[in-house]
Amino acid sequence: MPMLSFLIRRLLQTIPTVLAVVMLVFVLFSVVPGSIASTMSDDVDPQVELRLKQQLGLDDPLYVRFGNYIAKLATGDFGTSFRTREPVTSMIAKRAWPTLQLIFTAMAFSVVVGVPLGFIAALRPGGLVDTLAMVVAVSGLSIAKFWLGLMIMYVFALKLGWLPSFGYGDGGLKYLLLPAVTLGVSPMALFARTTRAAVLEIMSADFVRTARSKGMSEVRVVKWHVMRNALVIILTTVGLQFGGLMGQAVVVEKLFSWPGIGSLLVDSVLQRDIPAVQGSILVVVLAFLAINLLIDLLYGVIDPRIRYA
């Protein structure tokens, strides 16, 4: 049962992380100027603002508010949105699926394109494919997402008219494709580079020489001995990128009017809708922790040297 106790310990370890995040966001929003009341109109009657604050419990001291929030959170209650008066949980639930769709499609695109690209590049270092792949990789990493998104929109939606330019539509692949590719380009570039570096390093390892001394073709050497070793390194990068994608999704969702958690977060921040901001960030953090845990478990499947102790 070492795996189970590892799992339990890791789950317990997430509690302080989550608490720290909640506290940080709480403190941050208590020092930023403005409140839900001040974002409604430019000249609010101070009395109205005061009443609103009392209603929402915003005039309580910070520690009381924090205590109340944590107490509710423990029961699974994320609070009520200041803006829509809707429970935050149901707001998030509505937007979780589009975000998951976006992130996983972007990840699938970046892995499916980036990893083979890196592999091919590494097998002929300095060759034409390698040079091209690395140009793509460097550009992919350096291009700003909002610019790339606009360009993709311009070419594929406006000029060619192949795909809708923005919106969720029916949530089908047609609507998903452009935002997912926009989001997936930089991890794709990173995977290509990491894979290339990993494969190159492994190709010079002693056990690859052993494999060659057995009389294997290069294709078999790669398939039987290089691939799995490279996978360990690639998996680490994929895990880290998942977290990054959730952050970057904010920009892409806003750009493509994608009704996900990212755009909920941006709108809520602008209107100082603290419960919604808290909830969105919390969900993103939880998802990040869950994915990292999953990656850690996967390591053990791929690399026998890793033990869960």
């Binding site: 390892a205 002693d206 056990f207 020489r209 052993t210 494999a211 060659r212 001394s213 057995k214 009389g215 294997m216 073709s217 078999r220 039987w224 001995h225 799995r228 070793n229 360990v232 791929i302 690399d303 026998p304 040297r305």
Partner: protein, 326 residues
């Protein structure tokens, strides 16, 4: 030495570098190994012994390449064979064991599978059959509980066990020649003896010739019938292994033999310092003219500094390349 030799190397030159700037890392290397014979190649690090071995098995990678010369295996020249034809020989008829058993095995693949690959590659077996043969192969190198051990990963085995696995892989297809490149350098002394003994016995049983490469003259002389000593990319002396200890001809070989520590020497000869060879091996890019050992040789004269010594065949058998050999 009757009949056709198993492998014959003639005037082999191994280059390092690309087209414009090529330097010979080894040159004029010639030797032959008969079927079932044990032959040793000795020298300091960087003398060209390992790259000679890699050339035989066709594993030189850029920037190393065969410059000229002939490698004849079982009567056929193999230095210009196609990649596919070389792969048929490699592992199947010429096998190799490497120095580092820690890193020479794939860390994420069970050792049984790494042995089984040999049967799939060269004997056309299915994985199921190959896995069964892998258990037998592991048993033949005296690994206890082989049917369980095949599922182990390299990190679960000790250094000695890993080298046994390497031997099982190398001998899986019953090769004619086993190249052992410093097979025990990374192991404890006691394990070293076991591994050498195992390798020697298995090869003797199967009639497999051994080319053993080491910096340890004592070890090589112990295992091999004949020994060639390499210095700075050239073979300087080749003799029967008992002769080379008793009466080394080349000043470099003498230096090597004198610098071996001997048990009981203090009782016999009194307290004395262990001898050493002054100086260091020259770098490939600036090998000296003439005999390459001349800067470190006590008996070097003018001719040594200008003329490359040719091979002198000794009456007792063997050859030496020295202007002033004994």
């Amino acid at each position: 030495m009757t009949g056709a030799p198993l492998i014959e190397v003639e005037d082999l030159r191994i280059d390092i570098g690309d087209g414009r700037s090529r330097v010979a890392a080894a040159e004029g290397v010639s030797f032959r190994i008969d079927r079932g014979e044990t032959f040793g190649l000795v020298g300091e690090s960087g003398c060209g012994k390992s790259i000679t071995a890699l050339a035989l098995i066709g594993l030189l990678r850029p920037p190393l390449s065969i410059g000229s010369g002939v490698i004849r295996f079982d009567g056929h020249e193999i230095q210009h064979l196609s990649a596919a034809a070389q792969r048929d020989l490699r592992g199947n008829r010429i096998a190799m064991i490497f120095q580092e058993p820690m890193t020479a095995l794939n860390p994420v693949s069970p050792v049984g599978r790494q042995i089984a690959e040999m049967f799939v590659l060269h004997k056309g077996k299915s994985w199921r059959e190959a896995n069964k043969l892998a258990v037998e192969a592991l048993a033949s190198v005296r690994v206890p509980a082989p049917e369980r051990r095949v599922n182990d990963y390299p990190h679960q085995l000790s250094g000695g066990m890993r080298q046994r696995v390497m031997i099982a892989i190398a001998l899986a297809c019953g090769p004619d020649l086993l190249i052992a490149d410093e097979p025990t350098t990374a192991l404890d002394v006691t394990v070293q003896a076991e591994i050498i003994e195992l390798m020697r016995n298995l090869c003797a049983e199967r009639g497999t010739a051994i080319l053993m490469i080491s910096h340890d003259l004592g070890l090589v002389a112990n295992v091999c019938r004949r020994v060639a000593v390499m210095y700075a990319g050239r073979i300087v002396e080749e003799r029967g292994s008992t002769d080379i200890f008793r009466a080394p001809s080349h000043p470099y070989t003498k230096g090597l033999v004198d610098s071996l520590p001997r048990l009981g020497s203090r009782a016999a000869l009194g307290r004395s310092r262990l001898k050493e060879i002054a100086g260091v091996v020259p770098a490939i890019a600036n090998f000296p003219d003439g005999c390459r050992f001349n800067p470190r040789c006590a008996s070097a004269t003018d001719i040594c500094r200008s003329v490359v010594p040719t091979a002198d065949f000794l009456e007792a058998g063997g050859l030496v390349r020295c202007h002033h050999h004994a």
